[in-house]
C-alpha cells in the first residue's frame, strides 16, 4: 500500500517522441491537455480549499456578516485555552480508546476465524463486511431504534440477563460507549478484510512447517503468523486511528453531541463553531489542528515503514 505512495520512477523511458519530433509544440502541450480538466477540479475543490483554510484560520471571519480581519495566530492561541475545545478533544480520544483496540483485535480475530478451512466461511465473510456498505446515517437510525431505553431490542436482550432500562443515549456516561459499540459493528468488517488479505499472503508452508516441528496452534499463531502480519497490522492501526479521529456522522444522528456535550467530538466542535455560530475563522483553526494531527500520524507511518524495510 505504501509502496505505491512513493513516486515510482517513470520507467526509464526512451524518447517517447516528445520534444524531438517535428510537431514538437503540439506534443509538448498534449500532456497538459490530459491533466488540465482534472487539475481544474483539483485546484478548485481540493488543493485551493486546503490552502485557503489556513488563511481563513488567521482571520476572525464571520460567515453571517461576511466580514473579518487578519488576527494572526490568535485563533490557535484561543484554542489552547478553550475548555470546550479541550473537552471535545478529550472525548474524541475517549471514543478512540473505546473503538481502536476493539476494532483492531476483533478485526484480526475475525480474519483468523474466517480464514480457517470451514464450510460456509465465505458467507460469514460477506455477513461481517455487509454493515460497512450501509450509509452512516442509516446505521445511526437503526441503532437509535435498537438502543431505545423503553422499547429497544438491546435493552430487552439485556433484561433477559437481569439488566434493566439503561438509558443508552440519554445518559452522559453511557452515550459514548453506545456510539462506540455502533461504530465497531459498522466498521469491523473493513479491518477484517485487510487482515484477511494479509493472512492470505502468508505462505501456508511456513505455518505447516511449524506445525510439523510440533508447534501447537497458538504457538504457530504467535511466533509465525503475528510477526508476519506486522506490516498489515500497522496499516490497519493507522487507518483505524485516522478514521475514528474524524468521527462525525453517527454521532450527529444518534446524539448530536449530547446529552449535554458528552459526545461532542472535535469535528463536531468545528462543525458547530462554523455553521451554527458562524465563527469560520476559529473553526478553520480547529480544522488545521485536525490536519496537523493527521500529518503527524502520516509521518509516524512513514518512519515505521521505512525502518521495517531495513530490517
Amino acid at each position: 500500500m505504501d509502496r505505491g505512495v512513493r513516486p515510482a520512477h517513470p520507467a526509464a523511458a526512451p524518447a517517447r517522441g516528445s520534444r524531438r519530433t517535428p510537431s514538437g509544440v503540439r506534443l509538448a502541450l498534449g500532456p497538459w491537455l490530459f491533466v488540465l480538466p482534472y487539475l481544474v477540479t483539483f485546484v478548485l475543490f481540493r488543493f485551493g480549499p486546503a490552502v485557503a483554510g489556513f488563511l481563513v484560520s488567521l482571520t476572525n471571519w464571520n460567515l453571517m456578516s461576511g466580514s473579518g480581519r487578519f488576527v494572526g495566530v490568535d485563533n490557535y492561541a484561543r484554542l489552547a485555552t478553550d475548555p470546550q475545545f479541550r473537552q471535545s478533544l478529550l472525548q474524541t480520544l475517549y471514543f478512540m480508546a473505546l473503538t481502536v483496540p476493539a476494532l483492531v483485535i476483533l478485526g484480526l480475530l475475525l480474519a483468523v476465524l474466517v480464514n480457517q478451512r470451514l464450510r460456509g466461511r465465505s458467507v460469514v465473510r460477506t455477513a461481517i463486511f455487509m454493515p460497512y456498505v450501509v450509509m452512516s446515517t442509516v446505521v445511526g437510525v437503526i441503532w437509535l431504534w435498537m438502543l431505545n431505553t423503553d422499547v429497544g431490542v438491546f435493552n430487552y436482550l439485556l433484561s433477559l440477563l437481569g439488566i434493566h432500562g439503561i438509558p443508552w443515549l440519554s445518559d452522559p456516561n453511557a452515550a459514548m460507549p453506545a456510539i462506540a459499540l455502533t461504530t465497531i459493528w459498522w466498521t469491523v468488517g473493513f479491518n477484517m478484510i485487510i487482515f484477511l488479505a494479509g493472512l492470505q499472503d502468508i505462505p501456508p508452508e511456513l505455518e505447516e512447517a511449524a506445525r510439523v516441528d510440533g508447534a501447537g496452534t497458538f504457538t504457530t499463531f504467535r511466533s509465525i503468523t503475528l510477526p508476519l502480519l506486522r506490516p498489515v497490522t500497522f496499516v490497519v492501526v493507522m487507518l483505524t486511528l485516522i478514521n475514528t479521529f474524524e468521527v462525525f456522522d453517527q454521532i450527529y444522528v444518534m446524539t448530536g453531541g449530547g446529552p449535554g456535550l458528552s459526545t461532542l467530538t472535535i469535528i463536531q466542535f468545528m462543525y458547530y463553531e462554523a455553521f451554527q455560530f458562524y465563527h469560520v475563522g476559529y473553526a478553520s483553526a480547529v480544522a488545521y489542528v485536525v490536519l496537523a494531527v493527521l500529518v503527524v500520524l502520516a509521518l509516524i507511518q512513514r518512519r515505521f515503514l521505512a525502518r521495517g524495510d531495513l530490517a
Partner: protein, 286 residues
C-alpha cells in the same frame, strides 16, 4: 488411545469454531434483520414490549407513509444523479490525468503528481469551510452541482489508475504510437479497455462514497430539490429532529432505512469481489 483423544479434541475444536462462525454472523446481520422486520410491522407493534422477532401482521404502511409524506423519491433520485454524474466525471477526468502521469512526460510532472498525492492526507472535514464559502460566493448553495462537484476532485482514483497504467505493457502502447495513433486514441482504444478491473474498482469506490456521503451534502443540500438520502434520513429520522424527536416513529424511519440501504446491499451482493477489492484498495470510509 492418543489418536482417539486427538480426534475428539479436533472435533471439539471444530465445533467451537462453527459456533463462533454462527455467533458472529448473527451479530453482524441482526441489526439489518431488525431494520427490515421493524419496517414491515404496523406502528402499534413497533412499541410493543417485549418485542416480537417477526411482525404479527405484515404491512407496507410505513413505506407508503414515508413515500407519501416526504419527498423521499426525490432524495432517492438526487442520490442517484449525484452518484452517477460524479462517477462518470471521476472516471473521465482521473483516467485522462492518470494517463498523462503514467505514460507521458511533461515539465513539472513529478512535482505535480506529488502535490496531488499529498492531498490524500487531507480529508473533506478539513476543507469543508472554504468549500462552503466558495459555493456561497458563486450562489450555488443548495443545488445538486454543489453536492457533486467537490467529489470530482478525487485523489484516490488518480492514484490507483496511475499505478495501474504504469504497469501496462509498454510495447503495446509503443506499437500503437509507431502506427501513428494519437495519445487520445491510445488512451481510449488501448489503455482503457486493458484497465477494466481497476476502472471498475474506482467506479465502485466513487459510487459508494457518493451514495453514503453525509457531511458535505448536509451543508449544501437543505431543500428537497437537492437533498440526498443520507441527509434526508438524518434530518427527518435522526435523534434530534422531527419524526422521531417528540413522538418516536421508528416504523417509518426503518422503512426509509430499508429503501436507502437496499441498492447498496444488492450491488454489494452481486459485485462482491470487485466491491471488496475496491474498498480495500482505497480504505474508503462510508
Amino acid at each position: 488411545m492418543t489418536d482417539h483423544s486427538k480426534t475428539a479434541r479436533t472435533i471439539l475444536w471444530r465445533t467451537f469454531l462453527y459456533l463462533g462462525l454462527a455467533a458472529v454472523t448473527l451479530v453482524a446481520l441482526f441489526p439489518l434483520f431488525w431494520m427490515v422486520s421493524s419496517a414491515l410491522r404496523p406502528e402499534g407493534q413497533i412499541l410493543a414490549y417485549p418485542p416480537r422477532w417477526l411482525p404479527a401482521t405484515w404491512t407496507l404502511e410505513n413505506f407508503a407513509y414515508i413515500l407519501g409524506r416526504f419527498a423521499f423519491a426525490r432524495w432517492w433520485l438526487n442520490s442517484i444523479v449525484a452518484a452517477g454524474v460524479s462517477t462518470a466525471l471521476v472516471l473521465l477526468l482521473d483516467s485522462l490525468a492518470a494517463y498523462a502521469f503514467a505514460r507521458l512526460h511533461f515539465a513539472g510532472q513529478r512535482v505535480l503528481y506529488l502535490v496531488v498525492l499529498s492531498m490524500l492526507l487531507v480529508p473533506i472535514q478539513v476543507t469543508i469551510i472554504p468549500l462552503y464559502m466558495l459555493f456561497a460566493q458563486v450562489h450555488l448553495l443548495d443545488s445538486l452541482p454543489a453536492v457533486l462537484l467537490p467529489t470530482t476532485a478525487n485523489v484516490t482514483g488518480v492514484f490507483l489508475l496511475t499505478q495501474f497504467f504504469r504497469n501496462l505493457p509498454g510495447e503495446l502502447l509503443d506499437a500503437a504510437r509507431i502506427d501513428g495513433a494519437s495519445d487520445l486514441r491510445i488512451w481510449w482504444h488501448i489503455v482503457l479497455p486493458l484497465s477494466r478491473p481497476v476502472l471498475s474498482s474506482v467506479a465502485i469506490i466513487t459510487v459508494v462514497s457518493s451514495w453514503n456521503s453525509f457531511l458535505w451534502p448536509l451543508l449544501v443540500a437543505y431543500s428537497d430539490a437537492s437533498r440526498t438520502l443520507p441527509v434526508g434520513i438524518a434530518q427527518f429520522f435522526g435523534g434530534e429532529s422531527g419524526v422521531s424527536g417528540s413522538a418516536p416513529q421508528f416504523g417509518p424511519a426503518m422503512a426509509a432505512a430499508c429503501l436507502a440501504t437496499a441498492p447498496v446491499i444488492v450491488a454489494f451482493l452481486v459485485l462482491q469481489r470487485s466491491f471488496v477489492r475496491g474498498v480495500a484498495l482505497s480504505g474508503l470510509k462510508g
